[in-house]
């Protein structure tokens, strides 16, 4: 049996964080949020760029000879959108992108691809972006629910859904 060594390294971060002064936690959070709001337009622009790249990748992946690279690009662009959309008031669009991540990941893993299912996600994202529906709108919720059930069906035979929230390790 191999040896297991336990060590307790110095808590440098704890010492720094607890030094006198600093910011109240509520102030720190609100300042961070204000900073994020100040770059909201740039983030929205980045989401639009990623959406346009996603459109190209979806088209390439749906070709008869659409290769693994185009499919990986679909996943990468969907991931980029999922990571940013919620920061600029496009939360529902981000959730659809996350759903597309699940779908593309599942297809890539199983070496399968359904262009119609992928295109449905892209169309929904385009619609949400154009219509400017507020987060939590009933139309958006219904669209998302339909797409989620699609992924659940695909996923049922391959592992299980992703984890919802940041998970302690």
């Amino acid at each position: 049996m191999s040896a297991v060594i336990y060590t307790r390294p110095p808590n440098r971060l704890g010492k720094l964080l607890a030094a006198p002064g600093g910011r109240k936690l509520s102030d720190a959070v609100s300042e961070a949020q204000a900073n994020l709001d100040s770059i909201r337009d740039q983030v929205t622009g980045e989401v639009d760029v990623a959406l346009s790249r996603l459109r190209e990748s979806v088209a390439a992946a749906s070709m008869v000879d659409g290769g693994a690279e185009a499919r990986a690009d679909v996943y990468a662009h969907a991931t980029a959108i999922a990571g940013l959309a919620g920061l600029c008031g496009l939360g529902q669009l981000g959730q659809v992108a996350y759903n597309l991540c699940e779908l593309a990941d599942c297809y890539i893993e199983r070496q399968a691809w359904n262009s119609a299912a992928v295109a449905a996600h892209l169309d929904t994202m385009t619609l949400l972006r154009m219509a400017g529906l507020p987060d939590g709108s009933p139309e958006g919720v219904a669209l998302l629910e339909g797409l989620k059930s699609l992924v659940r069906r695909v996923d049922a035979s391959a592992g299980g859904p992703g984890l919802d929230q940041d998970a302690p390790l």
Binding site: P9, P20, A34, N35, G162, A167
Partner: protein
């Protein structure tokens, strides 16, 4: 080095990141901007930045860091954030091999979260980043200061910090008892037998 009660109380109400050196590993300019803005809001102002596995390796080899926030997906077809954390933990670089690491990712499927746990990260946080969540995780890491485990299969913070019992109520070892107690097989003990076992004494 453990922190005193007063220090921990201060940590629960205020945060001081002014002197902390934070390494941000993020491949996109926009993602880097988002991270920087959040952490500047927390009061941090000393950042080291890397956009790839190799850049991150160089940074940790050259400078001590107090916190690392690392995107899971770096450059396509190259080593990713999980590989970087795994390399860092086994690098024996002092003090950086023990640095707290938060992995951030947009897609938290089970495979990715499992890789984050097994590479030696402290936490995985989902994008889009919520400042309150990120701050909460940073404070949690600082307050708990989990011990580090080093063995052939794993180097990183102790993973068994939650006692959830055996998975599905069934232990994996042959001598683990079942969660089902079942019906008693021996007769109940008499009062005399209990008294003999406990040896009760009168309190004067």
């Amino acid at each position: 080095m453990s922190l005193s009660e007063d220090t921990l109380a201060n940590l629960a109400s205020r945060i001081q990141l002014k002197k902390a050196t934070i390494l941000l590993v993020e491949p996109t300019a926009q993602g880097m901007d988002v991270l920087s803005q959040i952490l500047m809001g927390f009061g941090a102002n000393h950042f080291l930045r890397a956009s790839s596995f190799e850049e991150a390796q160089k940074v940790v080899a050259d400078s001590p860091v107090d916190l690392i926030i690392c995107e899971a997906t770096l450059q396509p077809e190259e080593s990713d954030g999980y590989d970087f954390v795994d390399w860092l933990r086994r690098s024996k670089l002092q003090p950086n091999a023990f640095a707290p690491v938060i992995v951030i990712t947009s897609h938290t499927n089970r495979r990715n979260v499992g890789r984050a746990r097994d590479c030696g990260a402290h936490f995985v946080v989902t994008k889009p980043l919520a400042p309150a969540v990120l701050l909460d995780r940073i404070i949690w890491i600082a307050q708990t200061n989990r011990p580090f485990v080093s063995c052939t299969a794993y180097v990183g913070p102790e993973r068994r910090f939650q006692n959830l019992g055996p998975p599905d109520g069934n232990g994996r070892r042959a001598d683990d008892l079942s969660a089902e107690i079942g019906v008693a097989t021996d007769p109940n003990m008499s009062q005399d037998e209990i008294d003999n076992l406990m040896q009760p004494r009168k309190v004067s």
